[in-house]
Symmetry: C4
Subunit: 192 residues, 4 copies
């Protein structure tokens, strides 16, 4: 029950985040095909962010599915994750508006990095609640993909100072890496 409502609330917030981003795709002036052209950076930002928020939902879904209990600490670390995710629409719009210049790309990466870090904290908080020898902890394993993502974000932010598009390409690479949902929790779901 506690777990169910946590999932429902997270689903609600994530569903709103993923949908309000589209409000930043303001309709263009003019009604020609090439009136749409100036929208490409915003559309590209939107696509990357949509994929990222979808990845977070998928992984959150898989992880919470394996969870047996929640605690007050879990509720708050989950809120921390939702807080950083809620800033993605802002960073997406700023990056799209400015055609992927340096600082918007850096800030976008920073928010991705903090979201990923919050997710790791949430996972650790759940492991600590279930015990290191629990089924949950074994299924989660070493969480190397999460840790690797945070490192790639850090590198991407650094390389953005050479050219912001390198940073953007690395963010897209991390998204591609996560595109395949977390196989660790997968088997459980398939059989239901």
């Amino acid at each position: 029950m506690g777990k169910g409502r946590l999932e429902a609330f997270s689903d609600g917030v994530i569903a709103i985040i993923i949908t309000i981003m589209v409000l930043e795709l303001k309709i263009p002036v003019g009604d020609k095909l090439n009136s749409l052209w100036p929208l490409w950076p915003k559309l590209l930002s939107y696509i990357l962010s949509f994929v990222y928020v979808a990845i977070y939902w998928n992984n959150h879904h898989h992880m919470m599915h394996a969870v047996e209990k929640v605690s007050g600490g879990v509720l708050w670390t989950n809120m921390l994750l939702l807080f950083w995710l809620s800033l993605i629409p802002f960073a997406t719009a700023w990056m799209g508006e400015n055609h992927f210049t340096l600082w918007p790309v850096v800030v976008y990466g920073f928010i991705l990095m903090l979201s990923a870090t919050s997710y790791i904290i949430l996972a650790r908080c759940l492991v600590s609640l279930h015990g290191k020898d629990s089924v949950f902890a074994k299924v989660l394993g070493s969480d190397y993909k999460g840790k690797l993502s945070v490192r790639i974000y850090a590198i991407a932010i650094g390389l953005s100072f050479i050219h912001p598009m390198i940073g953007f390409a690395l963010y897209a690479l991390v998204a591609a890496m996560w595109f395949i949902p977390d196989r660790r929790f997968e088997k459980k779901i398939t059989s239901q």
Copy 2:
């Protein structure tokens, strides 16, 4: 459980899409009855899009009701469907703002076509998961209505170059065709 949360998330996103479209109905300047008059193209766009999103929700509801299990692939093809649906408010607003001129009508039809295609992919992905001889596959059948819709959208886009209102009329025709919910899954629901 996995299925339940997928339904809940899809419901959330679709509920937000259907509701934020109304934000494009900006309140008119002036407080006379005929101040409302310039809103008619936006209202007409809104009505058609409301019906379309409602149709997707109804059919998604019926299809997921018959589903027994979900997989990572299903989660992602569902996300693809939600992505194209999320662009409907944008296309609706652009079409309403420009009084059904050529390119907005074409782009609107294009997004409808991609939404319908994503829905077909989602259905196929579910058939492949359940097996071709499963109850689900038999209930879904040949999905001729989905395929027919995609073809009519293609024709509608083509005929829009003669007059955009032909395209719009064909979009409305497809909506009318789907207005009656999918009888294939209907019997199951009625008895619950």
Copy 3:
């Protein structure tokens, strides 16, 4: 199951409608107490509409609680109700912006009347599905309050042409009449 998801989707749409209305309460220019003063018509409109949407949620909640099954027709009449409710934020904003002048008050009443009519149609559709001798039909009874509301709205719209504030006062009266949730379905809930 079918009923559960219909409730979930309606809850989502109604939750969004009730919340996006507050976006029309634009923050005032200036930071003095009397900078808030020009907001009073918008705040008053917001309060009435919040109460109305809350009434619809309460009654929808009570009615659906007594429902045993749903059909395709129920899904569509429910969508019709959600459509008219979705126009309430628009009418609220227009009425608040124009300080309760004639046409905005008339249009607001018109949308209330169509929402109430849709609710009656939904109730009839459910009665017809369950049968006239079903528990549901007996619990619903003659629905005189719903029919009375529609009549008061019609009178309110008419009297708005004498003075719009008469119309507004009558809308508030209907809300007050519904403030007490529908006792017909109440007993069932209290015992759960």
Copy 4:
């Protein structure tokens, strides 16, 4: 069932409130790091409000978890709570826009005070429904933290007339006091 849908609707409204606040973080003009600087009052307001709405969700979650039944009165006192919470985005934006000057800080505190008061009324309404000797009433206890919060808000509003930052600091103090979720209901959840 009745309780479940009340939770679902409250979750929806609270999820939307917490997320639409971020729409007030308009993207800055310019793409430099210091273009973000003028956003600090809005970001600070956003963080405090995010924490507050999260606290309400956490406590609502814990309280409703212990609830055994709901009534019409509970539905309406819950709506009253949601009404005041729905005004938090407005007060947050006004306070952030005006850099924590007197009246926006006072109005923000006033809305916090009314939200807290509504929460107390909701708790009392639930106690009265379950009976003073019920498990629910014993678990809730004297609710001293809720009453203390209302008093601190009143003092904070008063001291804002000396300097608004004193008021703001006290609001943050109350949030910190609630940061630890309500231990009264905690034990029940952990074991599920």
